[in-house]
Amino acid sequence: MDEIQALAHGFGVALTLKNLLLMFTGIVLGVIIGVLPGLGGANGVAILLPLTFSMAQQPGGATSAIILLSCIYWGALFGGAITSILFNIPGEPWSVATTFDGYPLAQQGRAGNALTAAFTSSFVGALVAVIVITFLSPVIANFALAFGPPEFFSVYLLTFCAFVGTSKEPPFKTLAAMMTGFALAAVGTDPVTGTLRLTFGSVRLLTGFDFLVAVIGLFGIGEILLTLEEGLAFKGASAKLNLKVVLETWRELPKYWLTSIRSSAVGCFMGIVPGGATPASFMSYGVARRFSKDGDRFGTGQVEGVVAPETAAHAAGTSALLPMITLGVPGSPTAAVLLGGLMIWGLQPGPLLFIEQKDFVWGLIASMYLGNIAGLIVVLTCVPLFAAILRVPFSVIAPIIMVVCAIGAYTIHNAIFDVWMMVVFGIAGYLFKKLQYPLAPMVLAIVLGDATESSFRQAMLVSQGDMSVFFSNSLVGSLTGLALILLFWPLLAWTIRRIRGD
């Protein structure tokens, strides 16, 4: 059991006073970010990333930095449930499904039960995902050591095709958004030959677009503009959570063990294969409704209807880090931002991380266990405080969020130009959201564009332009094959529906 030993070592790394303090800071910041409109896991982490630049320079600092940032992520995952249940406003896209049964419960005066169920199942989902990461990631990393350019390209291909196959948005809009991401990634110098591309003579564009700026604009500014449209009447149920309600709910929860297992499995799968937390939560809600004996009463305030999406969302959000640390391929926008952080701190994400940066990797994994325990404690004890944030009027909170976004965009490269780009991306984010163009594949394409292209061109060089290199052995062949199936899945599903005559 090498993993157990490595994990014990990781706990040694993570369990210092400084790291524990950062963990709680991260969780609290994360929950606040998750509760606020316009700030979420991805852009929250992106904005706070520059704060870690000097921290990561110290010995062991990179581990502390990733602990802080990943805990912000866990906090944001927890925080999304609070606004969904109390205010019927999903703070995060993955908590939309939580509103279906969570808000009715709150209206019936059972907000405490709904919140306890949500937090506890989030915790369970995350725990399952961390256990999967603990035992699966060394295996995958070891396996990936032998990967060459064709294998890496097929993994990237699978990542992007999975978006087309699993997203609810129209496939051609997904493609358009994704390819725009690739085009933005191509701006600047060509990764292989160093030729300037798509700069059109502009000096500002020489270094290309930074995806962190895109993330802050798309998710931050865009989200605020959308929230504005909805009108700003936040009417919420009161958030009282006492020990009696918590214990009462905990006694009820074991009844839903099957739903928990199913949702964790859906979540882990969707997180590792980049589908992300949002589709995982919807899928898991749907599955639970179909299989539960109270299925037809879903939507009227069933605790089980809160358990299913929350477990899956948290499992997916957590397991999205697995491909990030083992292959350098993030499974969600937030994982992509964390990956960006790793590169800025001077760590090369990918299989070698498990050999060269043992302290970092196992410290991170251990911190996932601890961070989620810390998260559960923080949210169970401080719900009323966090809910109070939403009662701050929008005309105060909105400009402050905008200023925070601007500071975040500026500090990435100390460039004013990035603040302007953030506003442009904000407008794009608003339009994209309204017209159902998905943002996640675009962000991942900006992050992975250069790596995808390099691996493709290297593979082509090795094979002298022969495309069959992507089917040359069973591993790369099955990855490419699976990718193609997912890519054409919308078409297949449409054909099957036609044949059946529905």
Partner: protein, 169 residues
């Protein structure tokens, strides 16, 4: 929702859909044009030329845009929902325009003064708060940002004349 004149559609779904698809097509065409300049074929030693990958990226953008465009054209009148109401658009613009001005101001007078003005403007104009509250929140926010970013985490923020006058540079 907003009633009356404010509730009228400022833009229909179909028009918005068509406009964005056209924009995507233009973007794709731009990418294709630059790729053709760089060469899209095979090159000895280097393999695919620098324009190879972006060329197909641009091509997929254009094809997707055309399909979305045509689908939007075929949208029937009853499916053509309101994209944005007049009242909503006004709200969005009252935030977007100050934000754009704010972004432009940062480079000129630094982030602190522009943030104070921006938060103050928002609270006074949209929130109708008394001046003392406006001043307290906007100045307080600037001080908090200074303490967190510059004092604690040592991340420099853009400054203008006022900061150098106060000796904060």
């Amino acid at each position: 929702m907003i009633e009356g004149r404010e509730g009228r559609a400022a833009l229909r779904h179909k028009s918005a859909e068509i406009a964005l698809a056209a924009l995507f097509f233009f973007l794709g065409a731009l990418v294709i044009a630059d790729s053709l300049r760089l060469g899209v074929g095979w090159q000895e030693v280097h393999g695919p030329r620098p324009g190879y990958f972006p060329f197909y990226v641009g091509l997929i953008i254009c094809v997707s845009a055309v399909i979305t465009f045509v689908r939007a054209l075929l949208l029937r009148a009853e499916g053509d929902k309101t994209f944005v109401q007049v009242g909503q658009l006004k709200l969005v613009l009252t935030v977007l325009i100050p934000t754009a001005i704010y972004a432009a101001l940062i480079g000129w007078i630094g982030i602190y003064v522009s943030s104070i003005l921006f938060i103050g403007f928002f609270m006074r104009w949209l929130g109708k708060y008394p001046w003392w509250k406006v001043a307290a929140v906007s100045l307080g926010a600037a001080v908090v940002f200074y303490l967190i970013f510059e004092a604690w985490f040592k991340v420099p923020l853009p400054k203008g004349l006022v900061e150098s006058f106060l000796g904060l540079d």
